[in-house]
Symmetry: C2
């Protein structure tokens, strides 16, 4: 069988897939358009409450790892401390996040969601999960595994570590 496109083909089992530039472009556009859908629902809630995506990200990861330190959050989010601090300050001022001084190391601030913070996180993640759930259902379980496999391969190694850290069993 002749090769099509400039990048060759990949095969496994009964499936044959040509990685032409056009196939790759489709993947790129899929990421672009899907990310918009991915953020659309929480964005609507955030605008209502006067917050932005940066607040969402902070709240998400504080919820995922309660007691995480500022430095820890910085490395997950990949922004500067000035940028994160601006967001964190409003969250603390608004009573959504509590920054507890560390016990062993008093320089550290351990971040926790308050009840109000948990409520916002719930609202945001529920909206996002709903879309994800529908997408997963419609695509089917095998597609979900493929989705995760490709996304994991697309991550930078450091981000991949962060991603795998957040898994319960492994």
């Amino acid at each position: 069988m002749a090769e099509r496109g400039s990048t060759g083909a990949m095969a496994r089992g009964d499936t044959l897939l040509f990685l032409t530039d056009d196939q790759l472009r489709r993947g790129i556009e899929a990421m672009f358009f899907a990310y918009r859908g991915f953020t659309a629902d929480p964005d609507r809630i955030l605008i209502e409450k006067g917050y932005g995506r940066a607040h969402h990200r902070a709240v998400h990861f504080i919820n995922r790892t309660p007691g995480t330190t500022v430095n820890n959050l910085l490395s997950i989010l990949g922004v500067t401390k000035q940028s994160l601090n601006r967001v964190l300050r409003t969250l603390v001022d608004d009573g959504l996040v509590e920054a507890r001084v560390g016990i062993r190391d008093k320089r550290e601030r351990h971040l926790h969601l308050t009840e109000a913070g948990k409520a916002l996180e719930q609202a945001l993640s529920e909206a996002q999960r709903n879309r994800m759930r529908v997408a997963f259902r419609n695509a089917g379980p095998e597609a979900v595994q493929g989705f995760r496999a490709v996304l994991e391969e697309m991550m930078d190694p450091e981000m991949r570590r962060q991603y795998l850290d957040g898994v319960d069993q492994g």
Copy 2:
């Protein structure tokens, strides 16, 4: 078999997948971390050249659909004309994009990449395709199909139409 989690399970063929909130959270984080990797390579090139992601998006879709109008591009990108115009102006001024007055409708501007514009587009998309190609290769062809299926399901209907528009045969 008892149900686990609050959202039930999905099954198809020999695969069984529980759509617990934690499974969905993993999917959410996968999108978050992967999108960072997805944009990382072109971002480096863009910074060098003094452009941003907005320029990349414009150049990408002008390349995909040469002769597209400003309005068309607006509906694909989902930003205001003022926002797009600022980006487009710099690209025209820098000689990367040509805005040709419409023949049938002279109000319209038909956008084309110049040679310099094509060169930038090539550099950006090559970097992005390389990562996508490696991710596709490592994940395997079945995973790629699943990846695309889930992303397509995640899009808003309007974006989905735009996405499917960009496909050669169907």
